[in-house]
Amino acid sequence: MTAVCCDTVAEAVAGIRDGSTVLIGGFGLAGMPVQLIDALIGQGATDLTVVSNNAGNGDTGLAALLAKGRVRKMICSFPRQSDSWVFDGLYRAGRIELEVVPQGNLAERMRAAGAGIGAFYCPTAVGTPLAEGKEIREIEGRTYVLEYPIKGDVALIGAHRSDRMGNLVYRKTARNFGPVMATAGELVIAQVSEIVETGELDPEAIVTPSIYVDRVVAA
């Protein structure tokens, strides 16, 4: 089924259950679906595992969700930033779990989930604390670490435009994790600046085809 165009962000995030793993797009605030996160805060789902590159910036978006105590665990590459005070406080108080994943592994593990790959051998992090306890294999003289997919119950992504089928185009570096998360989420919800009529987007330029997208909302 192609995407449902929602009238409101509240409608777009309806039905997200407690305990879900939620993939949240964005690199810093570029591509972060802030209005969807605000709607998720209003919707009330809690005990979430959030997968996102960062662990919130300032007091808006993901940081606001964290501040409400809705997140049990963060899986991210770079939690510590100059404006990550919300996460820092929760982490130091022992109120949130953290799994740090190298940025490329974060992306590739979601890509694997979306592509039906059971696991993959990756050279990143060999010999470092982030490979501890993981299976190691030598292939043609090089050492690799076995990495497992990261699948989301939900993906919240920010894109530039959508058509009414849910085909998505992105804008500049705000693309970042969006296309990968769109493949790895069971329920994929995209916030866009504009929904255009089907046929108005150049088929050659579509980055995320509608097959991956369940709901779109202009916000």
Partner: protein, 212 residues
């Protein structure tokens, strides 16, 4: 005279071949961009999904959708291309990137890199793309001061900080000397305001002279 960070950046830039695809790490390595010749055809990669990244944006050119890995607003150049994160790291890991320039807490004599975590119990670990860059780029250049603020060397026999990558560093550019991490050992290429003998006294790493 020892070098300042701009002079170090100029030395790194001198060693980047025309036509290279290059990733400059967050912080001091970004200064290297200021010293790359405009006509050298060097293409900058930023891991958040862009090739042929232009200079930092100012004024009306600032666009929140166009940032570098340090989340600083940047600009497009003719020939810029955007791609998603999995592609960005695939091009890195797949050996398509010629050079990356990174900062470091420590580099070992074998080229092990420590640059992501101090290992202190209250430190919040954050790795970003450092481990992916360390194993992915064909050449890894480190730019750092040779000694920490407390005077301890950062070029060491073995890293004591948690590792970012094993045997991945090819060259080290510091305020006092530049080094090549070669199969036969650590080779001193140039010194600045210090002699080869003095370097040998202050570092616990066996050093080789470039001229043998």
């Amino acid at each position: 005279m020892s070098l300042d960070k701009h002079e170090m950046a100029a030395l790194v830039a001198r060693d980047i071949r025309p036509g290279s695809f290059v990733n400059l790490g967050i912080g001091q390595p970004t200064l290297v961009a200021d010293h790359l010749p405009a006509d050298a055809g060097i293409v900058l990669h930023t891991e958040n999904g862009m090739l042929n990244m232009g200079p930092a944006a100012t004024g009306a050119l600032i666009d929140p959708d166009l940032i570098n890995a340090g989340k600083v607003p940047v600009t497009e150049l003719p020939g810029s291309a955007y791609f998603h994160h999995a592609d960005s790291f695939a091009m890195m890991r797949g050996g398509h990137l010629d050079v990356c320039v990174l900062g470091a807490f420590q580099v070992s004599a074998r080229g092990d890199l420590a640059n992501w975590h101090t290992g202190e119990p209250d430190a919040i670990p954050a790795v970003g793309g450092a481990m992916d860059l360390a194993v992915g780029a064909k050449n890894v250049y480190v730019m750092m001061t040779l000694f920490a603020k407390d005077g301890t060397p950062k070029l060491v026999p073995d890293c004591t900080y948690p590792l970012t990558g094993l045997g991945c560093v090819d060259r080290v550019y510091t305020d006092l000397a530049t080094f090549v991490i070669a199969p036969e050992g650590v080779v001193v290429r140039e010194t600045y305001g210090i002699t080869f003998a003095e370097l040998g006294e202050r570092l616990a790493v066996p050093l080789l002279r470039l001229d043998g």
